[in-house]
């Protein structure tokens, strides 16, 4: 069971503002989703190895060769605030 407090906590971790009125609503909806997935608990998974990845492939690598990076203007094109080539964020503690 996901509680209203857990929704608020996760909201805080993701820095998303969640109003009290919304938290209750989200908790109920998330619980419904979890209940739905809860059906999986009925499957017998004894002797089934855990799945780490859906595609049955391993060892996909890239050689250590430099490729061009993006021009600075393009990197900063979508940011609201910038300064001397940097992204400018609000003061962070």
């Amino acid at each position: 069971m996901i509680t209203k407090e857990e929704v608020e906590h996760v909201g805080w971790l993701a820095r998303i503002e969640i109003h009290e009125s919304e938290a209750q609503d989200y908790a109920e909806k998330l619980n419904a989703v979890l209940d739905y997935f809860g059906q999986l608990d009925e499957v017998d998974t004894e002797n089934v190895p855990p799945t780490y990845h859906v595609a049955d492939i391993v060892n996909v690598f890239r050689e250590d060769v430099v490729r061009p990076s993006m021009p600075q203007e393009e990197v900063l094109a979508n940011t609201g605030k910038k300064q001397e080539g940097n992204f400018l964020a609000p003061r962070i503690m």
């Binding site: 820095r15 780490y52 990845h53 060892n59 690598f61 890239r62 060769v65 430099v66 400018l88």
Partner: protein, 477 residues
Amino acid sequence: MVYENPDGVKIGLEIHVQLNKLNTKLFCGCSTDYHNAEPNTHVCPVCLGLPGSLPVLNKRAVEFAMKVGLALNCNIVEQTQFHRKNYYYPDLPKGFQTTQYDYPIASRGKVVIDGEDGERIIRITRAHMEEDPGKLLHMGSIEKSKGTLINYNRSGMALIEIVTEPDMRSPKEARRFLDKLRSILEYLDVFNGDLEGAMRVDANISVMGGDRVEVKNISSHKGVEKAALYEIMRQKNFVRRGGKVVLETRHFDEQRGVTLSMRSKEEEHDYRYFPEPDLVPMRVADRVPEVIKTLPELPDAKRERFTSQYGMADMHAKALTSDIKVANFYEHVALKVDPGAAAVWIADVLKGELNYRDISVDAFKVEDMAEIIELVTGNKITERSGVEIIRTILDNGGTPAAVVKEKGLIKVEDDIVTKAVTEALAENPEALQDYLGGKEKSLNFLVGQVMKKTAGRSDARTTREMLLERISELPPK
């Protein structure tokens, strides 16, 4: 002598090492050569975390990580994959850090250091691969900052995080461990410790069985030693006043040499790790034998070989092998001159002069070192002149021959001194008589006269001996 560890100090370290000898970042082809570059010029959709981008693992980064694991005497895992560690902070453009979680690439190793009371084994818990976040620059002081500048050039650099058991019993042992680790990493040629931000350390410190305190993000070996010294003193005082140390995270203020509580609401992190779906698992254990073959001779083995092959003292072998560059420099010099003399000159003299100036051995030429040693062992210059030549070259450049000439360091030939002795005795019969009559001081006068004639290039001790020998040979009057 057994180290008692009177305060029950336990120090464990978490060291973030940039694999900065790679050409490219961990998951994209952006160059790692960003240290003198404009901000945000070494980035691409992958390391900026733009939607739709797909990370692909750098093959050589995996090799480097395996080399580090093997050099730290770790086991290499059979199969591993990456996880997402979720936390929201602007240095992570994706909102999560790609890292390893339950199956680190390497685990359960050990490193031997020179501890408080001889050799000490520091156990390695694990070493895992992860990406470096971007760099934040707070404008003004943290309290009054107007904003934060973000540069993602560092974002996505390959890191290996090495975690030790709390096996260090003093700040000195912590520092020795870090020195040894750096030495090993540079031998492996996966790491350049001179680059800014190449190694960052978190230190877990406890005293007298209390809870541990984590001091975050210390950027130098000296800083770790200082932070640990401060933290041990602080915890001891706190306990003495009746306090109880509780688990917390502190920040080290390098300038003031103190640690400060971070009092962050995120102390109890909720990282919600889950497997990274954009990267497939890797199975690399079968490559271990192949990677072992590429491992170079490591510091401990080299130290042993130096003592047996060149017959030098262990103290010299240790000094010469802690830095791979110095070790290579020594072996090149030892090909040209007497290896024993080379060991003494490089370990005792050159290394001291380099440390004093905080510069690398790259600043000195093998040929110059060999030439200086030849001049001294060939009795052409005094040892003191040899040291002077090294200092002059380090400070002003030039060659040994030029410095010798400029400063007139060549020892004068014995026959010139012999001639000067004869002359001095002939010209100062009263002084000679006074000396023979028991006035010791007159001998000093005669030594001075000889040295004046040789313009100071004969040394006082030899001159004195030659004078005494000559006087003893004089026919009795």
